[in-house]
Every structure is written in structure tokens, then in C-alpha cells.
Chain length 320, copies 2
């Protein structure tokens, strides 16, 4: 028997494992592979590029997938949501902003609304907005997020939102993480970095190699990344990336970086173009320290599910 | 049946729950109460005050307890270890420094050596030093520690030290935390803040009240606390406390604080003396957000064990 609960029933999936909608990295190929392995794949809709979304949906073929957006960016181009809903997504995930303006259209289209939160207050707002699923994202996560570690955030979100279907994210890469998250009250997990280091993920092979090589403490959460791309995020959020020469250069000198933003952003964009990851950032979470290979998405999903089930069973058997 | 494993067998305890040796807060009364409830109580030997240790061992009566030390401080007064071993401790815990000089004497006295670590490298060193038990302490913990969150640190320590008996610490306050830590590979938990908010803990009732009142994000990890007490800790470590007026005043102004250290330390000591916790710090971890009452230590231990067993059983039952 596999892990079955409200989450798997609601999403009609075999394993409670969701692909984080990593901007540009979670393309149609990866999203489809996660769905076909029994989880749910979400396209990395990110800031909202309609052409990219249309193309990646095509590449996903007939797979039942969803799409994630950066909410404050989607608010600037709401027409992208309509365009996405035309693909009949299984779910739409909103992170970093007020989900309320978008909830009615998502539900009307028959999609599930997934809201990712970083604080207990945001979790309450998501529940009130009608979220079908709340993703509690710990500070361990790659990319944008906040400061609260998952071990403390997750049970607080569970307590604050009785009856909600909650998924854990941040710092998780294996079946141990899924089993542990379930003990804290989650019904499943969302993983990004683990699927970045997969065969099907978009993204430079050198970036994947660096994730596999990364050890404990290899990442840092800061605003250097956004300043280096000349993107102004709402103040509460920072971005976690692999430490590299560029990060070491600017950490602690953020004011100076902001003053020289346009100049640095040109150099940064050029480095990204040529695949120079000593300058361009590899967006990855603390889970990179638990990732040692680049298998297929199917193998990742099956490993996680099998290990979690085995752990829960063996710990229960040891009790009796 | 209760949770029984190598940890409980090695320490001859009923529940895999250890009291963190909180400096001055984990006195003989609390340590004895945790042991009598089926866990293991550890006196907060801290920097190493022989008279305090003798007195608290008396107050613990016949209870089988241990004692914890700040290793770099113990190294300055090694005679305190001999004095402690004369009490025939069940275990001696060493945190924040090289355990090797002390390991032979501890083992010769028939006590178990517990080493608390904050990084994978420290865990390997502890295993090589002959630690019987390794405590992996996440950044969520109150008091001194480092930056790695428990969800990522713990499985890394497990992987790096095959066969080691590992205990999880930091951010844990209930049976959910114990069950989750076990899924990540720990054999038990060590809790501090949860037992601070107990009837038997030493410490000001107002400090306990503030822990109960504290919400998410109420703590901060910094060097303000050590500078304010004019104690110079090794650079790698910071201390987590409840945010208060004093912390808000000095966070980000650490250089200025260091320059005015003696003056501030006098004011800080006076505030501590009069129980003014707007200035004096309440040492507490992120788990304070999960703590809502001040029960007896026995009730805390029983709640944790019962909840963890129930969770493991019910998750396993849901599989089949």
C-alpha cells in the first residue's frame, strides 16, 4: 500500500509528492515526468511569460499538470492567469502575495488553488482566501522565501489552520523528509532542488553538477541575487542560492550593490548567458547537501515514496 | 509499548527524551523530575561552577542524572570535571569545543559521553572522539548554536556517522517533533525551551511567562547577548534569545556594543538582578512558538512520548 490521504485524493495522484514550480527549471518535460511517476508536476510559471507557459504545456503532452506563479508579478499581468487556465491545469499555485484576487477564477476553472506561505499569518490568510492546499515553506528552501525553519513553521501552520490540507516544503530531498513532514502534520511534500538535479529538469548541466557537489552550508539567503538582476522584490523576501564568487563579493555590501545595480545587472545577465556560475547564481535550497546524483524524475518519486513507507512501517513495527 | 531503541537501552531510560543542560535553568529539581518521568535529566553545568553543581546534585536526591558543560569553558577549569564525576553521573554532555581531552576520564568513570554538534564536520570529530551519543543541534535551538536548520543537519549527521546513536535538538517541543526526528534517523530528542516552561525549572516566573506568550519569530540568534554579558565566545557561535527591547536596540550595532561592552555589561547585570526582561535576555529557542503552558516535567515527558507513539502508529495504520 502507498501513502493515501486527502491530498492524494484531492489531486488524484498516487504519491503525495509535488514538484515545486521552479522558474524556468520546472518545464513541461519535468512536470510531465513527475506526474507520470505518480506525483504532481507544476510548471515554473514564475513572473508570468505567456509564450513560455504555452510552449511548455505543449511539451508536457497529455500529462495532467499544474502551474505556479509569483503572485505580486501575476498581479501586474492578470491576463496570464486566463491564458493558463485555458490549458485546464490540475492546480494553480500562488506564492509571495495576496491570492484573493485570483482565487475565484482558479476555482471556476475547476483547478485546485495551492497557496505557498512562509509565516503563520500568511497561512491563515491563505485558508481564508479559499486555498485547497497550503504549502508551508521553510527557510531551507531554494529561491525566494523567508526566515522560519520548517521544523517550527510546519506544526504552527497545522495548529493555526485546523482541517487544512498542508504540504511541507524546504530542505526536503528524500523519503526521510516525507515521513518526518507527515509526523509534523503535513499530508505531503513539495520538492524543488531535488528535481532540479534530475534528467528532465531544464537548466544548465553545470548548474546541476554544482547542486550535486554542494555540501552543508553551501547556500545563502540574501537580497544580492535580486539586486544583481535588477528585480525589486517586496522587502520581506530573500532568495536562497548556492554561494559563489559573486555572492561572496557582495554579501554585506548590499547598499553599494543597489547603488551600482544597472551596471552589475548587465554583467550578471551576460554571465548567465554564457553559463558562468561563478557569477550567475544557481538557485538551490539547503537540501543540496542531501543530493548526490542526477536520476530521472520517476526514480526520484519512487525512491521517496518507497523510503517513506518503509520508515513509517519499520518505526511502527519497532513499537510492538 | 513505548519507543525502545539503542538510546533508551544505553541510558537505561523509558522514553527517548533528554533534558537539555540549560545553564542555571536545568537545576537538580528539574533534572530529577525528567529522570523520574522516564527520560534523562542533565544539570546545566554551563561554564563550570563547582559549588552550584554540588548543590544541585544534592537537590536531585537519588535520581540518576547527568551534567552538561560548555567545553571551551571546562577546558579552563578541568578540575570541575573530576568533581562532577565524583557524583557518578549517568552521562556527561560536552558542547562547543574539542571533547577529546575529556573523553577518557568520562568513560573511565562509567559515564556515557554525549557530544552536541552543530555541523557535519563536528559530528565526525565527535564520533572519532568516542562519543556514545551525538546530539545534532539545529539553529532553531535556544542559547548558543550555529546556523544549520535541523531538517537538513540531522539526516546529514546520520549519513556521516554510520552506526552512531544520534539525538535531535532545536525547535522541538512535542510528540510531533520526536516522531519526525525519528523518521529522519534520530533515536530520540533533547529539549530545552519546552522544559524551561515547566514547574520544576529554575528561573524567573516572568521568563517562563514570556516563553509561553512568545509567537513565531519571537527569537533572534546573534552575538548581542554575549557582548552584553562581556563574555567572549569562539566566533563560530551565536546565541538565540527572545527578542526584547535590549536586543532591538543593539542588533546591527554589534561593533558599537563591543566598544561599550563594560558599561553595557554593568547595566545588563543589574537588569538581570532585578528581573527586568526588557533588558536581560530570556534564553529560548524557536520552539517557544509551540509552547502554551507551564506543566510539570512529568506531564511534558508523558505527553511527548504518548503523542509520538500515537502518530507513528496511526500513520502506519493508514498505510495498510
Amino acid at each position: 500500500m502507498t501513502i493515501q490521504n486527502q491530498l492524494t485524493q484531492m489531486l488524484e495522484i498516487e504519491h503525495p509528492i509535488l514538484l515545486a514550480p521552479m522558474d524556468l527549471v520546472s518545464g513541461g518535460k519535468l512536470a510531465a515526468a513527475v506526474t507520470q511517476a505518480g506525483g504532481l508536476g507544476l510548471l515554473g510559471g514564475g513572473y508570468g511569460d505567456g509564450d513560455w507557459i504555452d510552449r511548455e504545456w505543449q511539451r508536457a503532452g497529455n500529462a495532467r499538470i499544474g502551474c505556479g506563479f509569483i503572485t505580486w508579478s501575476l498581479a501586474k499581468r492578470p491576463e496570464i492567469l486566463e491564458r493558463t487556465l485555458a490549458h485546464r491545469p490540475a492546480a494553480v499555485m500562488l506564492s509571495f502575495g495576496d491570492p484573493r484576487p485570483f482565487a475565484p477564477a482558479i476555482h471556476k476553472a475547476g483547478a485546485r488553488l495551492i497557496c505557498q506561505v512562509q509565516t503563520v499569518a500568511q497561512a491563515r490568510e491563505a485558508a481564508e482566501a479559499g486555498a485547497d492546499i497550503i504549502v508551508a515553506q521553510g527557510t531551507e528552501a531554494g529561491g525566494h522565501g523567508m526566515a522560519e525553519p520548517l521544523f517550527v513553521l510546519l506544526p504552527q501552520v497545522i495548529d493555526a489552520c485546523p482541517g487544512a490540507v498542508v504540504v511541507a516544503a524546504g530542505g526536503l530531498a528524500d523519503g526521510r523528509g516525507l515521513a518526518a513532514a507527515m509526523m509534523l502534520g503535513a499530508q505531503g511534500v513539495m520538492m524543488g532542488t531535488r528535481f532540479y538535479a534530475s534528467q528532465e529538469a531544464e537548466g544548465n548541466p553545470e548548474a546541476k553538477r554544482r547542486i550535486v557537489e554542494a555540501q552543508a552550508g553551501a547556500t545563502v539567503r540574501s537580497i544580492v541575487f535580486d539586486l544583481s538582476r535588477a528585480i525589486r522584490w517586496p522587502g520581506a523576501y530573500t532568495g536562497r542560492l548556492l554561494r559563489n564568487r559573486h555572492a561572496e563579493t557582495w554579501l554585506g555590501r548590499e547598499s553599494e550593490l543597489a547603488a551600482r545595480m544597472d551596471e552589475v545587472a548587465r554583467e550578471y545577465a551576460a554571465a548567465r548567458e554564457r553559463g558562468d556560475f561563478d557569477v550567475a547564481g544557481v538557485i538551490a535550497g539547503e537540501a543540496c547537501a542531501l543530493i548526490h546524483d542526477i536520476p530521472s524524475a520517476r526514480e526520484i518519486v519512487e525512491r521517496i515514496a518507497t523510503e517513506a513507507e518503509r520508515l513509517i512501517r519499520s518505526q511502527a513495527a519497532a513499537l510492538s
